[in-house]
Amino acid sequence: MDTIAADHARMGRPIPTQDPVQAQKDIKAFGLCIVPYVLAADKLARVRDALYRAADEDRARGWEQKFRFDYAHDDTNQRVWNLLSRDPVFADLVEHALALDLVKSVIGWPALLGNISANITGPGGGEMVLHADQIFVPEPWPANPQGVNVAWCIDDFTDENGATRFVPGSHLRNRSPAADEAATASIPLEAPAGSFIVMESRVWHKTGRNRTKHRRRAGIFAWYTRPIYRQQENWFLSLNPATRQFASDTMLVLLGYRTEGLGLVNGKSPA
């Protein structure tokens, strides 16, 4: 291990890498990997514009919906749900080849897309209850992670603007944090805009507090699970029909339209 990697390991977080093999190793060792500079500048700008347009529209129209893990008194943090129905560019994130390869390395295939939503921290807000994403699975948990989150950094993630924070080594405990562990020491996941972080579902984490005066910080979270779990978003109720109509085969699997065993129609896959 070189000096920089050793420094990172001491801090409990992996060194950013674009090497898929190293990224998989990082997920095993740290529960997560950081893949820097994935989106080119023009693509990032396209995604960012689409996201902030949807967020501003929601806020102007009073469409915002709080998330149960957030603090009720936090009025600056904003969630944007069902991004797939807001702009086709978000499907590109869901199906990004490297992200999907890493998802498959954690939970196998077929997998389901539970949700893709944004979490935008605002000045003075953003802090969240410490949790592991597979909280809905009763304990004791199976030996392997049941889901995986791909967090796309749409703005730079910094300690100051509310980067996601995680507890090093927590994925190895294979359980949710107890009530008296909510304040366990955590460290920020800093990464430049256009990067993504892949975090397996047992990592204890939370949104960081945005301590800036004026800056919002957007992250897009694509949440994938093994195919036995119910999706957070009911795509069959809420998805823009055009997204379904033009969906790739991979997307049909992820949305649950092309399925085996569960989610059938008359004993057969709906698509």
Binding site: R68, F69, Y71, A72, H73, L112, G114, V129, H131, I135, F136, V137, P138, E139, P140, P142, A143, N144, Q146, A182, P227, I228, Y229, R230, Q231, Q232, E233, N234, F236, L237, S238, G256, T259, G261, L262, G263, L264, V265, N266, G267, P270
Partner: protein, 259 residues
């Protein structure tokens, strides 16, 4: 309190049989409607034979019962069934499927399995699903009654499955009009119907915890007409609405008060 005793048996033994929920004439009526539903399914192009679940063509499988006849929409939410489901899974469950399996003479056994174990990874510490089996015929060894391994709902890891497990399986026996209720962790198989001329019609009401994906995609397979006939409670039990699998996060909300 007969029902309370049945609930206790379900929790302790992993199964119970509740007799005489339907009278014999009622059970006959449901069986008639089931055969009509099978015909209607075929008419709609949805095959009921050799659909890949059974060893041969002597089983008739009818899917999507809820769409095919109001009588099934009544049975799936029968108060007694819901009561037993709630006793095992708690109130936070979904209706996963409602299908029929009519075993005709000559039908063979499936493979030994637990409904929960073939879907969710071990360990299996808690019941995450339950089968409520409506008997439309008397069931016994001869006509292919479901065979189960007593105590197998306590198997938490696959390695705990006994050697020669199949040899330890015994048949349920029940009269037409009964329900056989089975914890999702009970290891079982369908029996072979070795009778000369007896049919064995069963309806399988399958319910699972709400974080598990239902077997049937109700949003995609129910007509608008059928959906319109449901109470909001039925809509919720079928997962038709926007309730999602974050309910277990609710205790965290008490921390909202922390400044």
């Amino acid at each position: 309190m007969e029902l309370e005793a049945k609930k206790r048996q379900l929790l302790e033994d992993g199964w119970c049989v509740v007799p005489e929920i339907l009278t014999r004439p009622e059970a006959n009526r449901v069986r008639e409607r089931l055969w009509q539903a099978a015909d209607e399914s075929e008419r709609r192009g949805i095959s009921t034979r050799q659909i890949g679940l059974d060893p041969n063509e002597h089983n008739v499988r009818v899917f999507n019962l809820l769409e095919l006849d109001a009588i099934f929409r009544e049975l799936i939410r029968h108060p007694l069934a819901i009561d037993l489901v709630t006793a095992l899974l708690g109130p936070d469950f979904l209706i996963s499927n409602f299908t029929a399996n009519i075993a005709l003479p000559g039908s063979q056994s499936m493979k030994l399995h637990s409904d929960q174990g073939i879907v969710v990874p071990e360990p299996w510490f808690h019941p995450w699903s339950i089968n409520v089996i409506w008997c439309l015929d008397d069931i016994d060894t001869e006509n292919g009654a479901t065979r189960y391994i007593p105590g197998s709902h306590k198997i938490r890891w696959k390695s705990e499955l006994p050697e020669n497990a199949i040899g330890k399986a015994v048949p349920f026996e029940a009269q037409a009009g009964s329900i056989v209720v089975m914890d999702g962790r009970i290891w079982h198989t369908s029996g072979a119907n070795v009778s000369k001329s007896r049919e064995r019609a069963l309806l399988f009401g399958y319910y699972s915890r709400s974080f598990i994906r239902p077997q049937q995609n109700w949003n995609a397979c129910l007509s608008e007409e059928t959906v319109a006939s449901f109470s909001s409670q039925m809509g919720a039990w079928l997962g038709l609405d926007a309730r999602a699998n974050v309910k277990l996060a609710e205790p965290l909300r008490s921390r909202d008060a922390i400044p």
